[in-house]
Subunit: 740 residues, 2 copies
């Protein structure tokens, strides 16, 4: 116990970053009692931009915290609390750049159309900041997510609202039948380590090497493409269908994570929906640098340089489009923000559960809920949403008071599958052949492609698969719950994985376990049939389904995915504890600035910290750490029971108030325990103070609410100003500070 150990807490963006200003001082003070340091590492969007250009910042140069964390993740003593951060779209990136420039940081503009070497270098650096740039770097392990018992019990007692489903609902998920990645997927398992080349052969026979990959032995390599023509024809068909049936149209992609392919897909949706406008102004838009991949907002932005009359004409033509296209789902009907405005507004893993929870409906331009066609071009995973929609039509909305749970064990390590495909994704510039060739010149996979098609390769390394199988068996054993490997017999990739899963399962004692392998539709159907009967089923999935399902089921069960326990047992031996899978809640920031009330719920952080302390205790033999973890769990349970989570109304307990109650319950639990006298003695005074001062502290915390505040920035708020806003109770601050 003489060595101090360390928990690394990430500083991120938006609401969770704001909450950190309030929570971290508490956590640091408590952790110190077990000789644990809590260090902070900045992986915010602004922080990552600065780190990418630190060579240009002079005396403002900073350390690259993400690089630090990447190294840490492969060290056996890593103990990282990872909060949600922004997966930046281009518009978000530009916003952050502008803010940093205003703060005096010499970061360059984002080059839309890089020409010089310097511009190209700048663009390349920004490319690494775009999209989901943090998780793939840190996730040096697979994923183990479940609803903690206290959270599940709370949801059963206090069920969130669930929109009723009508058997007559017209809503559905629509996807391509052919021409998409699913239908063209090929997959091979690499027999021995070596280099493979991704090549393009033009119609002239010229071979261009697009990429070289160093493959490991036993690694699974896939290739696939989406036909541009078929994608566009599909979009047109869905629009015609909505026009005929009167069902609202909506698009659901994941342009943030799938940062290369999905913006292109999104862009095609924009140019098909607004076909008349893009046909009429094609040349002008090119000259202006309109990029449909950034949404129709790109048109609004770029035409600002035109004379007013010309702007008006274009806007008129855009509005004309709405008269003959079907109604489109709105992101914000008051402000007129449609589904096609910017690519980062509607993200499939969040938008589809929201729609399903909301009676299968989205909001129309009149602000009313309507039955909706959810367009998800790629059929691989879209099918599971249609399966769930059909299930809800037949069986009604899920009932949080009785339903079972679907925890997830997800293959994630080392950028597995599609989520690691960005640097192997190409938008074809000409017709020809894409092929993957091994070192001996053997063609492993091959596709005939056309200009505009999106071709990609995906890698899945063997060690992560082996670890994933082990994690699934461990979870099935520890939870005493049936586990289903979701491996689709119609997918080439899944059939390669299936061979490995069947092989690696033999390494484990499966006695008494119920482990099966099913196709996606059958897997989700079985899980739902069990779920409505109150039974739990572990989903053991690939990387994309991991991401989708850990929103989908928690949002049905708990009303949010932020309350899930999300552990990444790192393959090197450390642990990463992720919190709040539901995004970083930009609307909460807006509310704080407007009325000094932060609705962010730090429950995910509480849960993650408890496991983090417990694991730290187990690994280092630090008994105090274990007690900190155990008492934190007790405090969290009490907080839920006593309904001290952030309330919805201004003037009631918000994020800061809930932190106070957590601290009070935690201190009380530590003062009440008898396992460690030192800790008991250390926390008794704090418990007493907080208990006695409860009313006064809450009055200070809640009294601060109701008026606008200045935090000095959005992407990089001013630390002093923000800390003052987030710690408004002098009594509480003094009590916490007294611990040190």
């Amino acid at each position: 116990m003489s060595n101090r150990s360390k928990i690394t807490y990430t500083f991120t963006d938006e609401a969770p970053a704001l909450a950190t200003y309030s929570l971290l001082p508490i956590v640091k003070a408590f952790a110190a009692s077990a000789d644990i340091d809590v260090e902070t590492r900045d992986i915010s969007l602004a922080g990552r931009i600065l780190a990418s250009f630190t060579d240009k910042l002079g005396d403002k140069a900073i350390e690259d915290d993400l690089a630090y964390l990447a190294r840490l993740a492969t060290a056996p003593d890593a103990n990282i609390i990872k909060l949600p951060n922004i997966s930046a779209s281009v518009p978000q990136l530009k916003g952050a750049i502008a803010e940093l420039q205003a703060l005096g940081y010499a970061v360059p503009d984002f080059p839309e159309d890089p020409q010089t070497d310097e511009e190209k270098d700048t663009r390349a650096r920004y490319a690494k900041v775009l999209g989901s740039a943090v998780n793939p770097v840190l996730r040096e392990g697979n994923s183990d997510r479940r609803a903690p018992a206290a959270v599940k019990a709370y949801a059963r007692k206090h069920p969130h609202s669930m929109g009723k489903w009508s058997m007559a609902s017209r809503s559905h998920a629509d996807y391509m039948r052919g021409g998409d990645f699913f239908s063209s997927e090929q997959s091979v398992t690499i027999p021995k380590a070596g280099e493979v080349r991704i090549e393009f052969i033009g119609k002239d026979g010229k071979v261009e090497v697009k990429k070289k990959l160093a493959m490991q032995e036993g690694e699974v390599l896939d290739s696939m493409f989406m036909s541009c023509q078929k994608l566009r024809a599909f979009f047109e068909k869905t629009l015609q269908d909505c026009k005929e049936t009167g069902v609202m149209w909506s698009l659901h992609v994941k342009a943030t994570m799938m940062k290369i392919s999905h913006p292109i897909v999104f862009g095609h949706a924009v140019t098909v929906y607004y076909k008349d406008v893009f046909e009429k102004y094609g040349q002008l838009f090119d000259e202006l640098g309109v990029n449909p991949n950034n949404g129709i907002s790109s048109v609004y932005e770029k035409i600002k340089s035109l004379p007013a009359s010309q702007q008006e004409e274009i806007l008129h033509d855009i509005h004309e489009v709405y008269s003959h296209r079907p109604e489109m789902a709105m992101v914000d009907s008051v402000k007129g923000i449609t589904n096609l405005h910017i690519p980062s507004d509607v993200i499939v893993d969040a938008s589809m559960p929201a729609m399903i929870r909301n009676s299968g409906q989205m909001w129309g331009k009149d602000g009313k809920q309507k039955d909706t066609k959810a367009v998800m071009p790629e059929s691989t995973y879209a099918r599971i949403y249609q399966e769930m929609i059909n299930f809800c039509k037949t069986n009604g909305a899920f009932d949080p008071t009785t339903m079972g749970s679907v925890p997830n064990v997800g293959l994630m390590a080392q950028k597995a599958e599609e989520y690691g495909s960005h640097d192997k994704t190409f938008e074809m510039e000409a017709d020809g052949t894409m092929r993957v060739v091994d070192a001996d010149g053997k063609v492993l996979m091959q596709h005939e492609v056309e200009a505009g098609d999106i071709w990609r390769a995906c890698q899945t390394k063997d060690a992560p698969i082996r670890d994933w199988v082990k994690l699934a068996v461990t979870r099935a054993r520890q939870s005493n719950t049936p586990a289903i490997f979701w491996l689709d017999p119609e997918r080439a990739h899944d059939n390669e994985l299936r061979k490995k899963v069947e092989l690696y399962l033999k390494d484990h004692d499966l006695t008494g376990l119920d482990i099966s392998i099913k196709g996606y539709n059958e897997a989700i159907r079985t899980s739902m049939e069990r779920m409505i009967r109150g039974q739990d089923t572990i989903s053991v999935t690939g990387n994309v389904l991991r991401d989708y399902l850990t929103d989908l089921f928690p949002i049905m069960e708990l009303g949010t995915s932020a309350k899930m326990l999300s552990i990444v047992p790192l393959m090197a031996g450390g642990g990463m504890y992720e919190t709040g899978a539901g995004g970083s809640a930009p609307k909460h920031v807006q509310q704080l600035v407007e009325e000094n009330c932060l609705r962010w719920d730090s429950l995910g952080e509480f849960l993650a910290l408890a496991v983090s302390f417990e694991e730290e205790g187990i690994k280092t033999g630090n008994a105090k750490a274990k007690i900190l973890g155990k008492t934190l769990d007790e405090a969290t349970g009490k907080l839920l029971d006593n309904n001290k989570s952030p309330a919805r109304k201004v003037g009631e307990i918000d994020n800061r108030g809930s932190h106070f109650y957590l601290a009070m319950y935690w201190a009380q639990a530590l003062a009440a325990q008898n396992e460690d006298a030192e800790l008991k003695a250390h926390f008794a005074p704090l418990a007493k103070t907080l208990t006695e001062q409860e009313a006064a502290i809450v009055a200070e915390l809640n009294g601060a609410q109701g008026k606008p505040v200045d935090i000095g920035g959005y992407y990089r708020s001013n630390p002093e100003k923000t800390s003052q806003v987030m710690r408004p109770s002098a009594i509480f601050n003094a009590a916490i500070d007294s611990l040190n």
Copy 2:
């Protein structure tokens, strides 16, 4: 070969009976060449009425052909061709009685409300004629149905029309969630032979024995009930839902076969839908003898005795109902015949496939197709239709040119399951307890019931189950096709059956066979997923699913269930060959009478006769019979290929023309074969004549069409008149007669 053998051909009702007048002379003439007699046995509705009152008919007394056939079915040399016959509803029965009385038969009126002993005796005799009264008697074996290769090939080449499905369709199947037979089902396997009693215990503790049953060892006995209150509440809920969503309302039951329980269910639908009318006129309707179980038509019929002004008032009130109830599916929108008019118009096993084939729509009062709620109160089997509807919404209409097939092996023998429950079905007259008690006084099953609830017991004997398992294995082996036993883990009855199936499967060599057991939803889903990929899957089901599925899948695959090969390998060793599962086509009779054109397709008879000849040949060593069967199959294939089935337009080939072509091709095939010189010589002249006279004969046959004809009756047409109408070609008649 010296012994003449015998094929028994049933004389039935409506279109198939009319067709028999044309086809049978041909068949008899051909059969004689192999020393086979073809005898006819009358199981028409009229024939069965007469047989039931033969003691009252004086010199018009007739033999009870159904009783004869029942004996024959348990004899090893039975060879029965069973054509479709009427499953009579009360209105149909009354129609037949009136016609027979007009023909001078002294059959009594149907007593609506029997009081005297004689009336009660009459009612009891008629009860045996009602509903599906023939099949349960004859089906002394299980069922083996499949699409013959020639028929399947024809459907792929000449696909029938299939209505497109929209993903936005609002249509669905709605069913009770609790309170139905499914939710209350209990089941036991009887360990040793003995008597069991069905008892009712009133609130006063008095025990009434409702029925005694002699049980065999190993017999499965079920009991279950449907709550009257919950059924009525369910109907009201479906009506409110349709009112809110604008989806059309329809009811799908099987009042013909389930002749005790389903008319009651139907009656509740009538009194709930027309609640205002039945509440207002309750007492009057009672006095008039209105029986809602016979449909709203019962009101129309009974009020005829009232003064015109009172009739008008009631009719006005009935029409008022339509103004606040949702739109109802129409049987005949021109004539204003609704779904609730009479219970025999909409029969679930025919109506649901028709709806699904028709884009999930039925016809509204304006004659337009509309999305529809298909109400099927009992959830046991309704779920499979909802599963198929969801499947079609997701995957589009089935494609007859590529889809696979779902043959059926059905448990049917000895009135298995619900289809034998009529004499064990009771509408509760008071609240109390229904229980089943064995000879030792042990209570085997028990339900608390309320007045109005429908309670029933079902029996399934062991020998039929054993035979069914054997038949499934044989079929899977002979067809080299995976077979799925549809046994639902949520049904008590199915769980009893499952034990036996697992046991009896051990009696067989299953090497290389793919035999599995699945719940209904999973079974139909798996079968459909395989089907759209062109794969066949044998459904091995209980009696009701046998009935439903052998319409459902054939109607999707072939456009009709009448083209299925339907064999009942009788347990005693004989064979019954059923034809045309699609009913007896009353509309075809109307067309014949109005314009002397009969659209009935005798393909089912052709297929059945071919197997019948072949089996007769195998069993008796009659080589000529085998050749007759083989050449008949060739003729049928040629008929399909050359498109000589009945056409749709008057003046083209109808039923009679198709019989001519069958005879010509059959004679040609016999003249062409070289296995049997005698047959070759015997048929050569006929082949020559028919070939040469083709144009003349077709001219005679088609020339007869286009004007009304008189056949002297509907339920019992005049044999001479009908024969003249059905054999209008003198040249053809002479040619056939010359064979003898």
